[in-house]
Amino acid sequence: MSKIKGAVIIDTDRCKGCALCVAACPFGLLEVAPRRVNRKGYPYVIQHDDDRCTGCASCGIVCPDGCIEIYRTKTED
């Protein structure tokens, strides 16, 4: 059966930690990195589980700063 696999790259230097993507992810795979800030002093978002990502692009669409790049592909297993 084919399965859709996705991956995201978050530009953590551009991210401001607004967490809109955290709420937009249908699987809850994103989180604000605990107790970390980027070079501008903002908290930033990381993906804590990349196994279940389907590359639906919800996080990228809602991101106000355009920090998220999304890749998607089909696997046959």
């Binding site: 696999k5 967490a19 809109l20 937009a24 669409i61 809602v62 991101c63 106000p64 790049e69 592909t73």
Partner: protein
């Protein structure tokens, strides 16, 4: 399949639009301006009009919009963007001319320019970011602030007796004979963002086809001015602002 196998150029499905510059935006975290900037960049890119677009910047939070999108921009005096857009479009009829204005710029100090440019049927598009507050100056009451909303200059909530009623300038625009397409959208979730993009595309196509003036109002959040988290601001907007300002196309001819 490893993460490295998925991250290949041919698998890219979404990224920051290429018309958006790499310079970091000055907007507060979670501000709706960024989403609307992205939508405008995507629409211009899809319409292949990057070399033929002239945007007019407002005064307000979006005053630095010219730093973020890689198209030609002009900076207008406070509220005068529709007047400058009129001149641009009349001198270069083949260009896509749009203004990008907030509610303090478009609905308060620039009411005269807005109403007359729309009513003359200039072939321009007005993108109206309505966050019901003066964001840049620190959250004062705007003409579009709903009754009962607390701001720095109406700390007990807006009262009709004292402050008058909220100004619904988009509904006003829909009644004008000069407008071709008037729409009100929001960008609080994925579905709404997709709809807003379609509305912006339609407005831009109309103004390129010379079909009267177009206005797209985007209901936005100002989480810093509203003193809320970005998520809470979205919820608050759904509960309170959507009651006053109806979403959807108000006029489509």
């Amino acid at each position: 399949m490893t993460r490295e196998d998925i991250i290949q150029p041919q698998n890219l499905v979404y990224a920051k639009p290429s018309l958006m510059n790499d310079v970091g935006m000055h907007y507060c975290p979670g501000c709706s301006h960024g989403v609307v900037h992205k939508l405008i960049a995507e629409v211009i890119e899809e319409m292949n009009l990057a070399d033929k677009t002239i945007g007019i910047c407002p005064v307000g939070c979006a005053v630095f919009a010219y730093r973020y999108l890689d198209v030609d921009w002009l900076e207008a005096a406070h509220g005068r963007a529709p007047a400058i857009a009129t001149a641009c479009k009349r001198l270069w009829p083949d260009r896509l001319v749009f203004t990008y204005q907030g509610d303090g710029d478009l609905a308060c100090i620039g009411t005269c320019e807005t109403i007359h440019a729309l009513n003359r049927g200039e072939k321009i598009t007005l993108i109206f970011i309505n966050n019901a507050i003066y964001g840049m100056t620190g959250g004062q009451m705007a003409p579009t602030t709903p009754l009962g909303m607390k701001t720095a200059t109406c700390p007990y909530g807006r009262e009709a007796e004292l402050h008058g009623y909220p100004l619904n300038i988009t509904d006003m625009a829909a009644t004008m004979p000069g407008t071709a397409y008037v729409s009100r959208q929001s960008v609080h979730n994925v579905a709404a963002i997709r709809k807003a993009k379609r509305a912006i595309r339609k407005a831009f196509e109309n103004s390129m086809n010379g079909r009267g003036s177009n206005m797209v109002e985007i209901l936005s959040t100002c989480n810093a001015g509203w003193k809320m988290t970005p998520l809470k601001a979205n919820q608050w907007m759904e509960e309170n602002i959507f009651k006053l300002y109806r979403l959807g196309d108000l006029k489509d001819e």
